[in-house]
């Protein structure tokens, strides 16, 4: 089994496009469904949601507000999974409910560890 990091990126919402509480409930249910599926396959290794605010540090003591100063996309959360192959990881990532939203994206990266090579 190999470990993969799944990064979920959210297209920052305009105020008018904010989901209703019922829609948010539905999103949460979809997430539960997705995560549960991965847990049932014994492939879930952990994950967290991320708050929207943050800071970005750059060389020469440059600090900018929030990760979204230059981009509309913001990292909304991440999970780590154990998968048999890159294809297997892609299969699980493709079911991420964030992909139902226009402009959102999911990034799949293999985690490399010095201990296992």
């Amino acid at each position: 089994m190999e470990e993969y990091l799944i990064l979920m990126r959210l297209d920052l919402l305009t105020k008018e496009a904010q989901p209703s509480p019922e829609q948010m409930q539905e999103y949460m249910k979809q997430y539960h469904h997705w995560i549960n599926g991965i847990v049932e396959e014994g492939k879930f290794a952990g994950g967290k949601g991320l708050s929207t605010e943050g800071k970005v540090l750059k060389p020469n003591n440059v600090v900018t507000d929030g990760p979204y100063a230059e981009t509309k996309e913001s990292l909304a959360g991440f999970i780590v999974i154990r998968a048999e192959s890159f294809d297997d990881a892609m299969r699980l990532a493709a079911q991420c409910p964030i992909l139902n939203g226009d402009g959102n994206s999911v990034e799949v990266r293999k985690i490399v560890s010095v201990h296992e090579q």
Binding site: L10, Q18, M24, Q25, M28, K48, G49, L50, D65
Partner: protein, 409 residues
């Protein structure tokens, strides 16, 4: 997984608390920031709870997240440096700590003060009701649009204009001074009255939504009664009126959602607890010697909770309508009075008084005449119902009138 709609429930109960507390902390100028932070908190919750499952104390989690977001905002923005900080420094010296107070006491105080801020005569009554639904009742823009039978865009525009206007008049989030209390309480009660009526008489077909609107009006009125500074007789009168009307909520619609007229309701479906509570508030309203329109309407509503028809019931209702019409005339009240008069003195006298009103453009006027002529002059009854049908604008009204015409034909 959790099958309860957790987020809509929390949005309804917690959104308003977070907005009120933050808005009190930031000042009304920053109301949009307070609303954004509260909305954002729920978005983050959706994501985090979706991945890890909801926390053991979801409300506490929301408060903490909102607090952190608020602190972050204050540190990031100049309002902290330029406005808040100098004031805090002047008062407390250099030892500055940003503490967002989400204790139950501060939540209650903030919401009550927010109620006074939102119900300000500088904005239209429609805007007051809309803003109250948003920031004090946690209703979504779509729900408010549904209740007003309009679009999200219209509501968003209306609320934006209302916030701008309240900023222009530099509204503060604070309790009115004792000397101003009566003057400021007036618009608050008007808004709660309109909010309740919006739910009770709205043309919206969504009955759950309408009931929620009524219950929110009752909840906000309870806040006024629980505070000594605002627990006045006419506040209790308004509360009594709302309880009496709300007692018939389950009796006034049938299984298909159609309106059941008062005369045809099953009194066993009237909610006895609400009637009892209403009576307690009515007694509290009798303190003092001022009679407000809420006292009169509560009196009318009280007699409607009495199941048995009696001369005392209908003569009392006529009496209260007479007082109400003197206080402020309205065609609806005049027609309701005429109906009560028919129950007390008979149809012939009620027809004379109704026809004297000559409300030729009002479909309720012709519908009432149709009812009054029933049993006296069938032809005239049908003529009037026909006129009512041509003037009625909603499908529900038209359907009710057609049913009456069919029964008479």
């Amino acid at each position: 997984m959790n099958s309860e709609p957790l987020i809509p429930h929390l949005f309804r109960t917690e959104y308003r608390k977070i907005v009120s507390v933050l808005c009190r902390h930031f000042g009304f100028r920053e109301i949009e920031v307070a609303e954004d932070i509260a909305s954002d908190t729920f978005l983050v919750a959706t994501q985090a709870w979706g991945i890890e499952g909801p926390p053991p104390n979801p409300a506490g989690w929301l408060y903490n997240t909102a607090k952190n977001k608020a602190k972050n905002y204050l540190h990031r923005h100049s309002i902290y440096e330029e406005r808040v900080l100098p004031e805090v420094r002047a008062g407390l010296g250099e030892d500055v700590a940003v503490e967002i107070d989400l204790t139950p006491e501060n939540i209650t105080d903030s919401q009550l003060q927010m109620l006074f801020a939102v119900c300000h005569p500088a904005i239209s009554e429609e805007s007051q009701v809309g803003l109250a639904l948003r920031v004090l009742c946690g209703f979504g823009i779509q729900e408010i649009a549904d209740a007003f039978l309009t679009t999200k865009e219209v509501i968003n525009k209306r609320l934006t204009r209302a916030r701008e206007r309240l900023r222009e008049v530099d509204i503060r989030i604070e309790m009115p001074a004792p000397a101003e209390m009566d003057a400021r309480l007036g618009p608050v009660l008007t808004t709660l009255y309109l909010l309740f009526n919006e739910g009770y008489y709205s043309m919206s077909q969504d009955h759950t939504l309408r009931k929620d609107v009524c219950l929110e009006a009752i909840r906000l009125c309870t806040m006024l009664i629980e505070n000594n500074a605002t627990n006045k007789p006419h506040v209790n009168a308004l509360m009594a009126m709302m309880c009496f009307h709300a007692s018939r909520f389950d009796a006034r619609t049938d299984a298909s959602g159609a309106l059941v007229l008062y005369e045809e309701q099953d009194p066993d479906l009237w909610n006895a607890d609400l009637i009892r509570n209403g009576y307690v508030f009515l007694q509290s309203a009798a303190r003092g010697n001022q009679v407000s329109r809420y006292h009169l309407e509560a009196g009318i509503a009280y007699w409607h909770t009495q199941k048995e028809d009696s001369p005392e019931k209908w003569s009392s209702i006529v009496y209260y309508y007479d007082q109400l019409l003197k206080l402020s005339y309205s065609p609806v009240a005049a027609l309701n009075r005429a109906f009560a008069l028919s129950k007390w003195k008979g149809k012939a006298e009620a027809i004379r008084e109704t026809e004297a009103l000559a409300l030729e453009g009002n479909h309720f006027y012709f519908a009432l005449l149709g009812e009054l002529y029933d049993g006296i002059d069938r032809q005239k009854a049908l003529e009037n119902l026909g006129k009512a049908l041509r003037l009625a604008r909603t499908a529900a009204d038209q359907q009710a009138i057609r049913k009456r015409i069919k029964a008479l034909s």
